[in-house]
């Protein structure tokens, strides 16, 4: 009987030590590293690339948003809001869909055989560049030099950059967009924080509709009936609701006081 107790005791001890060491090897209780300004909003797209022995695509949002509105790609052209959910194929691009809407040799450089890395014409690996040492044509630091500064994300105040006419993002491409009237003076929304003493939020429709229209957020992410969509900060941190853009491409949720602006009285 005592032998049996001994065995049980040993098993328990071994399991306890194992549980201890596994817990130690996990990542918790530490900050996740913040992406650098030049890497913020850079998305790796790898639907089928590496499976087909092609480098994955490194998509820099900063370069594209300097020239086009969010809405143009995410509504009119049809890109999803999460990397790899769109299912883009080379065939699509060559037929003028997705990236191929612009990367056709007319609006932007086109999809062309040959690799820069092998001395060929600029083409495939200008986008399919993950893991390759490709010197990008557009240097982030040079671009940022003349832009109004912001402390988070790309370190650029994109709203001010447009107000100052340093950028003029295109909202319409004739082949894919249809012209519609702009929303004029939409209302601000007051959102009440759940946590006591946490400042409330004033959501500016004005600032959001400039690049997003109505359709990027409504009705899928946020319903249109007032107060019907409820959400928590935790869900936003997990990439839902505001977190669909904020923390991925637009300024991160780190910047609490940029949204929680209204002191509670």
């Amino acid at each position: 009987m005592t032998r049996r107790y001994f065995q049980v005791a040993m098993v328990v001890a071994v399991v306890a030590v194992l549980a201890w060491s596994t817990a130690v090897s996990q990542t918790f209780g530490v900050r996740k590293p913040r992406p650098k300004p030049n890497e913020y909003g850079t998305t790796v797209i790898d639907n089928a690339s590496t499976a087909n022995q092609i480098a994955a695509v490194e998509f820099p949002h900063w370069l594209h948003r300097a020239n086009y509105t969010c809405r143009l790609c995410h509504v009119d052209i049809g890109f999803g809001m999460t990397a790899n959910e769109t299912g883009i194929t080379e065939d699509d691009n060559r037929h003028g869909m997705y990236c191929g809407t612009c990367h056709n040799g007319e609006i932007a450089f086109r999809c062309q055989e040959g690799k820069m890395a092998e001395g060929g014409p600029r083409s495939c690996d200008r986008c399919h560049s993950v893991g390759l040492e490709i010197e990008p044509k557009n240097d982030f630091y040079v671009f940022r030099e003349g832009m109004p500064r912001e402390r988070f994300g790309n370190g650029i105040d994109w709203v001010k950059a447009e107000d100052d006419r340093l950028i003029a993002p295109v909202d319409i491409i004739e082949s894919v967009s249809f012209r519609r009237p702009k929303l004029v003076n939409p209302n601000d929304e007051q959102l009440t924080a759940n946590e006591i003493t946490m400042p409330n939020i004033i959501f500016s429709h004005q600032k959001h509709t400039v690049w997003n229209g109505c359709e990027l957020c409504h009705p899928q992410i946020f319903g249109v009936t007032k107060g019907a969509t409820t959400y928590t900060m935790q869900e936003i941190f997990e990439g839902r609701f505001c977190g669909g853009c904020h923390s991925k491409v637009s300024f991160p949720t780190d910047d609490c006081q940029r949204c929680h602006t209204e002191p509670v009285v």
Binding site: F28, G29, R151, Q257
Partner: protein
Amino acid sequence: MASFRPSVVAAAAASLTISTVLAGVFDLPKLPPPDRYGTVVIDRLSTANNVKPVVFSHWRHRARYSCRVCHFELGFEFETNATEITEKDNRHGLFCGACHNGKEAFAHEERTCERCHAGKVRSEKKAFHEFRRRLPDAPFGNEIDWMAAQEDLEPRYAFFKDEKPLDYTTELQLEAEWFNIPPAVFPHGAHVQLLDCANCHPDVFNIKKKTTEHFEMRFILEGRFCGACHLTVAFPLNDCMRCHPAMHRNP
């Protein structure tokens, strides 16, 4: 030998293992002298590029700026060498370069290299004691009560914007995992003076009450949770009663 029961041996072995493990876990790291507490050597690329590593002294910086300015606004991580600082970044006004530009602080140029790229931690006793003289005492770390010293030092809360600390003073009572250990008290009010919400939430601590997993002393001692700051820069864990106020020293 017949009286040597295996169960007793097992119990003895188990208790020895546990006490050895715990002794290891609850060993508080040895504290450097007060003038070097919080001094870190940053060497991500320096030595590899034949440049001396950077010696960064927290006390000099926190005397003027809140933790938040560097660790929130400028994007420095809490862990040494985890931030991918490059010379190019600094020269473009990021990281150290946000202040070390010749305006806010001495510039990043040839003749000043060694002011930061000093190579080794050296004693700063003279300058430190001169600085510390007029400030309130604390038992550990820099032996300065930085919270009380705030009134005198007035470290800058925000660098980029005109912001003020959030008026958020909720105190949390954290029940200890161990029997007989009184709860820790966490004052949000003291922390928001120097930090931003995002410094701790949601990565280090979850925001939903009581959902932070593995929040235990042994992990804090590994530099997780409170240990991200309270091992190396903020007052060290040796000051048990400062967090567990109901704990008493043996008379």
